[in-house]
Symmetry: C2
Subunit: 623 residues, 2 copies
């Protein structure tokens, strides 16, 4: 991977930063966040402005360019990747390390007095604008909205915004109709005494209307906004997608409906003016509910006294708690996913020793096996197929320049998942196709102990996920080891593979408490720069736990693994496991055998079934 | 404990809330926070306004009185106590439970449109003012400062503000002179480019000047403020305490000093006007550093653009990391404290079966034994001496009406500590003087497992204490049990028994990372309402840990117990302990024997020594 040469681009950007055609006054710094106008994590090619200007294409990062400097903030997952992809024009700011300045503090330290800092008001979330603006103002600078995106002015071959056909999901996939979701939403609005709710996140629009799209790779969403009133529904969406008969029927666009369920379809680009009109027509006490992460531009459309901002929207919270139909769908999806991975690992075991399987071939093969499964739509993220030192690059994606051949001498880490119409998967397994070293087994076993500590944890109702994060690290910490990423994220139901409001991470505290029906990942790891990476990831469902006592009738919760793929026992140093941990592995493998075994049998995949049976032999502890 | 009858008082308060003599405009609600003008946790009798108006005298709570309602917010430690102490005029708001409204939300729900909510601007911290004011304003109400404290207007027999003599501490107790502390503070100020620092917390003033007082019970502090400039030192303090020759000498008030170390002594009451003068004289870019918990009144004295507010002050952070002299002092204090408790428990063991020892007698006896130790000053908090059901009242303090007799049939919980000139102690032991039930032993053992999990935890440098909180709960959670308080708090060095910025609690996230030299408590518990309470508390010192590997050279930390008092082995169900936990207990008891045993020997306390030796017999696991 050679870095992108950005000298000329930065020169052009610095010119437009002073060009009165694009800026009212010259800006001394320009911020390029990684998001799109919906604050999506995964974005369409036309929105990859930060990657365009810097070369760094990881999922998280913010670039800031001043007259003299170009700096990139990203987190521990991407330190290595960002360092590889950016040229010497750029300074890497390692977030989470003690001495790394915040973007605001850095700006204050480098800017000349009375500077203007520009940013696209549609891209920057309102909460971030507020925080930055305050710090900059108190240091004598100004954060200013630059209407025209300055990257777009220099990006001559910028791709078009996608506008792909929609998929409608019926009750057998969603469990609840869009009409009932609107009713529930309006009741939450009434509770908080708000008259309007603005849906800005793409997965929230998709979830609310039981529609899916493919405008963004890996995330089955489509570019749209919605504005829900107590008596109106407005959907802002482009293209002739609304001409499609199944979509018209699904949304009942041509039916005679009570007016409060009649959907008004409007152009995507008209959201700002429509919202400004809503804002202008409000009478006192009429509030408009927005996410505090909605763009600054949309938030400003509503006059301040009428805004009701919350970190999590009622849709985000409702979406996180999966209903019985969604949970069953997620189970089905994970069984199919396990079938594909049993096929893959069986195939790898035979092929790797021949020296012909590269990271890219392995990733493609994983996709091939998945695509054979019913209701497969696409992958849920770019497959992390990494062997040896590449495994230490936490969010690695193999490209021809880095593509390494799998061998019997190196650890192989595969983090992959798919979108099926009935659910979203995300699983990581770390395998050795030869003989792992004692040290590799030791590290793997600590990671496994952490994985089990979270998966088997019992905790009271009302517990926030971040309080479980240390359980995943304890065995590593005991030996002075750690990993620089969170332990888990929420997972959507045929939606984004990363979703709020729950998760398991020491970095957050504003997560919502875990509730039965929520689905998160459990993925501790260990990474040794330059040699190997280990991660063990299951998607797990929050379920009620039976306990001996039931303190103050609060009830308890625990996790049930939805992922049912064998954990390579060859990598386990059994002497480091407690009896309880050993039993956990054996019970987990027994369940893989029963559930996935039956499906392999049903699909006539006998060789993969034999592989599964062999890989799920119980561990026997030598006392 | 019968509740305080508050009908008449509330009537009087509601009258002054409308009396133009005291309020510019009538206020529809009046907030009575628990703090004083320094946001102290422990307050002088003249500042106990919330207890006066409600009867509830726990250390934490906020009262709000409206025309119709009187409500009290407090946390899990005090649910039972508050319910006992307040009459039916009051509604208890249980903080931390899901359905309890915040003060702001509650006010919005009960107030008529356009209400004024009054509060004493010297008592409410600026951060809290800001938060409340914002929510109230957005709901059409106003938070207004009421200059005259309305409680004081109806509190006819309010005691006088104390003004006791000061104690000077030399280098053999503090390790660092006040002059060097000022130099270090000014260097932190220079780093942040601030010109002034306002010391508002009483323990910060005491620490900075190496002085102690006794204006507030249990906390060796005195009423004072300080304003430190780059070239000036102003100490605001009342009374003739500054006439005392040792104090004058200690502060070098009569010496010829470089002007930047010359202390100007000013009246306590002049802080506001002096600060306003500082505020008025600032030139652009001259900032004034205050805690964001400083009172609204003092914060407002500095015009907004000149304020530099942080959650923790540089003094708070410096004070938390104890130097070698302070650490040695803390060790000495804990050995003396252990001697006193060995004497006490030996005495209780003989006396309890006679049926003559009440909770108050036991508490007094504990104080008597402590007062025999060198450099004893006073207790560090009101002794929690509680048996049977009283043990479930987490911050119980025995009074004649509740005073229960210790017996061989009930669990006894003693949470006590002292101020010695060389250190502050805080220890809880839970004992049974007869035969505990299997269930009591089971619960005790879960609490012990939690205590050990924290005490023996190894974690990377930079870890915040709140991430260790779940370790203390895991064994309880497994059985569906829990406790509704944090696991640990920072402890001062001959200073407040509760101090920031570190701690171990799920309730917080803004704690500063743990550092070698910090001192915290480790005190999980379990409380069964109406029957018993269990808590096991040691004060522990953060120390570097040696680990097998050293991930990215970050270094690791662990804890060393400073408290060396036997944990009653009779209460332990050894079958529930792992081998590692069993070894921890045995090693801990071995250290108690060696260190405290030697001191008991030296002090000629042979009977207590025999008790210690018996109580520290190693546990033997039956396999």
């Amino acid at each position: 991977m050679s870095p992108k040469i950005t000298t000329e681009l930065l020169k052009q950007l610095r010119q437009v930063m002073k060009n009165p055609k694009f800026v009212q006054e010259p800006v001394q710094a320009y911020i390029v966040p990684s998001g799109d106008a919906h604050q999506s994590e995964y974005i369409a090619p036309c929105d990859c402005r930060r990657a365009f200007i810097s070369g760094f294409d990881g999922s998280a990062g913010t670039a800031i360019v001043t007259e003299q400097h170009a700096a990139m903030w990203t987190d521990g997952r991407y330190f290595l990747q960002a360092a590889h992809q950016m040229d010497s024009n750029w300074t890497l700011m390692k977030m989470g390390l003690k001495d790394t300045p915040t973007q605001e503090d850095w700006l204050v330290s480098v800017l000349p007095e009375g500077s203007k800092v520009g940013v696209d008001p549609f891209i920057i979330p309102a909460d971030q604008w507020k925080r930055m603006s305050k710090v900059l103002r108190s240091a004598g600078h100004d954060l200013v909205p630059v209407k025209e995106n300055l990257i777009d002015t220099i990006w001559t071959d910028c791709p078009q915004r996608p506008c792909k056909p929609l998929i409608t999901l019926d009750l057998s996939y969603t469990g609840v109709s869009w009409r009932d979701k609107i009713i529930a939403l309006r009741s939450k609005m009434a509770e908080r005494k708000v008259m309007w709710f603005v849906v800005t996140a793409l997965d929230e629009v998709a979830w609310l209307f039981n529609l899916r799209g493919s405008d963004v790779e890996y995330n089955p969403v489509f570019f749209a906004y919605a504005v829900i009133g107590m008596n109106t529904i407005r959907l802002f969406i482009d293209g002739d997608r609304m001409m499609d008969p199944p979509v018209r029927e699904h949304l009942q666009l041509d039916s005679t409906l009570e007016p409060e369920f009649k959907i008004q379809v409007m152009p995507y680009g008209s959201i700002l003016s429509e919202l400004q009109a809503v804002g202008a027509g409000l009478s006192p006490k009429e509030k408009v509910w927005l996410s505090d992460k909605a763009s600054y531009a949309l938030t400003e459309a509503i006059p301040k006294p009428y805004r009701y901002l919350t970190p999590y929207t009622p849709i985000c919270i409702a979406k996180a708690v999966k209903n019985a139909v969604e949970t069953e769908g997620m189970r089905r999806a994970h069984i199919k996913d396990a079938v594909a991975l049993c096929e893959l690992f069986n195939w790898l075991e035979k092929e790797v020793p021949k020296g012909t399987v590269t990271e890219i071939i392995a990733a493609d093969k994983a996709e091939e096996f998945r695509s054979q499964q019913k209701d497969f739509v696409e992958l849920s993220f770019a497959t992390i197929s990494s062997t040896g030192p590449n495994g230490a690059i936490i969010h690695y994606k193999p490209v021809p320049e880095t593509n390494r051949t799998l061998s019997v001498n190196e650890i192989y880490l595969l983090d992959s998942g798919a979108q099926y119409k009935d659910g979203t998967t995300d699983v990581t397994r770390t395998m050795h196709f030869g003989t792992p070293s004692a040290y590799e087994k030791e590290c793997f076993t600590y990671v496994l102990k952490g994985h089990i500590a979270v998966s088997a944890a019992i905790f009271p109702n009302g517990t926030k996920g971040h309080l479980l994060d240390s359980f995943a690290r304890s065995a590593l910490w005991d030996c002075g080891l750690d990993y620089l990423h969170g332990t888990g994220h929420g997972v959507g139901s045929f939606l984004n593979v990363h979703e709020g409001p729950c998760g398991i991470s020491y970095k957050t505290f504003a997560d919502e408490p875990l509730e039965a029906g929520m689905i998160v990942s459990d993925e501790p790891g260990y990474y040794e720069d330059g040699s190997f990476g280990i991660r063990i990831e299951n998607v797990v469902l929050v379920i009620p736990a039976e306990t001996k006592y039931n303190f103050k009738n609060r009830g308890s919760l625990t996790f049930e693994p939805l992922t049912l793929v064998p954990i390579q026992t060859k990598m386990i140093d059994i002497n480091l496991l407690t009896e309880k941990e050993c039993n956990w592995v054996n019970e987990y493998h027994q369940k893989c055998r029963e559930v996935v075994g039956a499906e392999l049998e049903r699909q006539g995949r006998h060789e993969a079934l034999r592989w599964l049976l062999r890989e799920t032999e119980p561990l026997a502890r030598v006392q």
